[in-house]
Subunit: 202 residues, 2 copies
Amino acid sequence: MSIAERKQEEKQEMHKHILNGARKIFLEKGYEKTSMRNIAQEINYSPGSLYFYFRDKSEIFHELHKEGFRLLLNQLKVLEKVGDPFERLKASGRVFIQFARENKDYYNLMFIVDEPVKESLPEGFQIGEEAISYMQGMVKECQQKGKFKDMDTEYFTFLIISVVHGICALFCKHRNTSFTGKTDDELMENGYEAFVALLEKS
Amino acid sequence: MSIAERKQEEKQEMHKHILNGARKIFLEKGYEKTSMRNIAQEINYSPGSLYFYFRDKSEIFHELHKEGFRLLLNQLKVLEKVGDPFERLKASGRVFIQFARENKDYYNLMFIVDEPVKESLPEGFQIGEEAISYMQGMVKECQQKGKFKDMDTEYFTFLIISVVHGICALFCKHRNTSFTGKTDDELMENGYEAFVALLEKS
DNA sequence: TTGTTTTATTGAACACTGTTCTATAAATTT
DNA sequence: AAATTTATAGAACAGTGTTCAATAAAACAA
């Protein structure tokens, strides 16, 4: 089975190779403006060959989608050592926002563009559900320590996610140019800190 | 100049007629999946003729974009009679969320899809800036009455917009199916009320 | 080493897209 | 009645995602 193994490895390498080309183009031009021919050209392949490795364009995109989540979750992982759940919760929001700022294109692919998410739901957004229950776990911990006692756990979790996503979504669409004299970074950071201040008063 | 006037009116009617067909298709299928041929077919016209009335596809879309804003602003207008700025602010959020819920497709066209916004910026997002300064005005009023005194006006306004938009954006992408046992409506409403509760404690 | 079967790869083809342009018909003006 | 403007249609262009038959290369069987 040595040859079969090598074959499989080669196929995986080609898989990665396509993904590398696709990532570059996708992050450069976004989903809609990236064509299969663009990707093929990037790695000097024929367009048809891509379909030997991927079902369709959305499957390629979806791999990158998952990649983005892995990246984000890795950055959140360093917060595991933060003992106090409220501190951890606050820091999670900061890390999330920082991720969106530093990886605007990934964030777009992960949370804004929705073309291919619909079809590939089954295993597709499981990782998103994990993220939600991760947040919900932190909120519960906080509540066990006396914070946000009078809040419904689910609604409150949904609110927190909404706040953070709202900040990032506005940033990604650069709809926030209307705030004069403040940079995007300042708005996101201080906007979030305003929310933290509200939480702390609660 | 009577004939010229009639001509102009006829042209405006055709303009509207195209817009009506386009609105139907756009709201049915979204921006990307709507083609000029779809729109032309809807009103039994040739694709090329659309370009006699509109520069391109994005211009048609942009008219509907503005239409959505007019709709939303009309619904917000009824809140003018609410005297207390904090009550008005809270109600504005509710109206906004209700608008997104009842007009998911418009909301998508207005705040999520970004294809044509880039090019048509000049007069294009002025209406968005107005909305922001409207919000900021309310926040200022609240502050003059002693509410949120220790908050920076701009950041706090940005936060509020982020909260509301975040809730609506999650709803529009139905990314919130991961919350078991709660409907979208419940999540949006009670998620927002959780935020209101935070504001009231402040 | 042959012949046979998998495995990859290509490039043409299909049906679509937004947009442009020419030809033409209709309406208006001269 | 002739000339001119206005409006419409439909073909054409370059692009899209995707499919498919032909083919080359590699692996396996004899």
